[in-house]
Symmetry: C2
Subunit: 218 residues, 2 copies
């Protein structure tokens, strides 16, 4: 029971800093998303394809979270976007104070869109508010269609679901309709995109939606 109490205190402190981050985003008119998924679901690949698509159309910044390396920030920086890497050194999720510290090293002038890529983990990041406008959960078809039922908190706390790797559907044991209905059973208000970073399917639609959301924040 003591562990639960402590966890609660950690979350309360996190939520307070998340509120400050959210206030900062509101002040600057920034739309901020927190992308979450299993390791290897394709968060960074979706981000790369989206950055390619959005190039020049909107000012944005990226915060990358990783357990150990800065591989992802290096992938993103190739697109000429301000990218800060948070290395959690074993930590299984980002916390609001880490994002606050990362924000301090970004020039937010004119930035309309902030994309935070969380550590690859379908469990722990679900309970940590970073101050984002919404969570975007990525589920890849290769993971199977039962993941929303097995990891419900993440799907419940997200506003958007990106079903990625749809090009692999012919080769994997995953029913698109079952995956969709499992996700919507957990969270009926999920907005769903279907993407493939190999073919580029769905990226334009997702990019356009991001720009619309960011425009409506101004």
């Amino acid at each position: 029971m003591s562990v639960i109490t402590i966890e609660r205190k950690v979350l309360e402190k996190n939520d307070e800093i998340a509120r400050q981050n959210r206030q900062l985003f509101a002040t600057h008119g920034i739309f901020a998303i927190n992308i979450v998924s299993s390791p290897g679901a394709g968060k960074t690949s979706i981000l790369e394809r989206t950055l390619e698509h959005l190039r020049g159309s909107i000012r944005l910044a990226v915060i990358e979270g990783d357990v150990q390396t800065d591989l992802d920030a290096r992938r993103v920086a190739r697109f000429g976007v301000p990218a800060v890497q948070i290395v959690t050194r074993g930590g299984c999720h980002l916390e609001a104070n880490l994002v606050r510290d990362a924000l301090a090293s970004i020039d937010l002038t004119g930035v309309r869109l902030l994309i935070i890529e969380n550590v690859g983990n379908l469990v722990c990041p679900s309970n940590y508010d970073l101050g984002e406008s919404m969570k975007v959960v990525v589920a890849s078809t290769t993971e199977g269609d039962d993941k929303p039922l097995k990891y419900p908190t993440m799907f419940r706390n997200s506003s958007v679901l990106i079903i990625n790797k749809i090009d692999l559907l012919p080769y994997v044991n995953c029913s698109m309709s079952t995956l969709r209905s499992n996700a919507l059973q957990i969270n009926p208000s999920l907005k769903v995109f279907e993407t493939s970073c190999t073919t580029g399917a769905g990226i334009e639609e997702f990019g356009r939606w991001l720009v619309e959301q960011a425009s409506s924040k101004r």
Copy 2:
């Protein structure tokens, strides 16, 4: 800093119970593996194919760990194997006390092999000893070849690596040799199997190895 202290206490208590579990396994001559991976890497599918292959050749039991459902234990029970489901209710990893409680409901007489399937998570289960003989980490080709570098603790603390979904190699951006060399760079003593649950490749070899390990424990 207080969080770190508490975490250390939790781990110390866990390690004490893990030692008791390990002693129990030694008394019964049981070879116990703790299978870990990202969600959707194929732990349960590998288990199903392996159980099919081992049917009748060795007495075994299965403990399933999941955040919310008993879907996996139901999949495993179809093979006539004693299977206990631990539902962590949001918890991101199994702990030794949960395994101890699950063991209390299994008749261990004659059991030679215990397979524990952990919660799908490449971060948190790496630090929790359950008393197993060894950890087996599953990495699927669809997750990409950089995961050993990004989640090194899990690969460092495992003795065996199963590279799964090798049938999808033609369709994904994953180099088998890079994945292998990244894994062996983190942990040079990893024993590596390559499997596909679709074609059945590698399952017989993995099953034979399990039986050999279990036989050497008697």
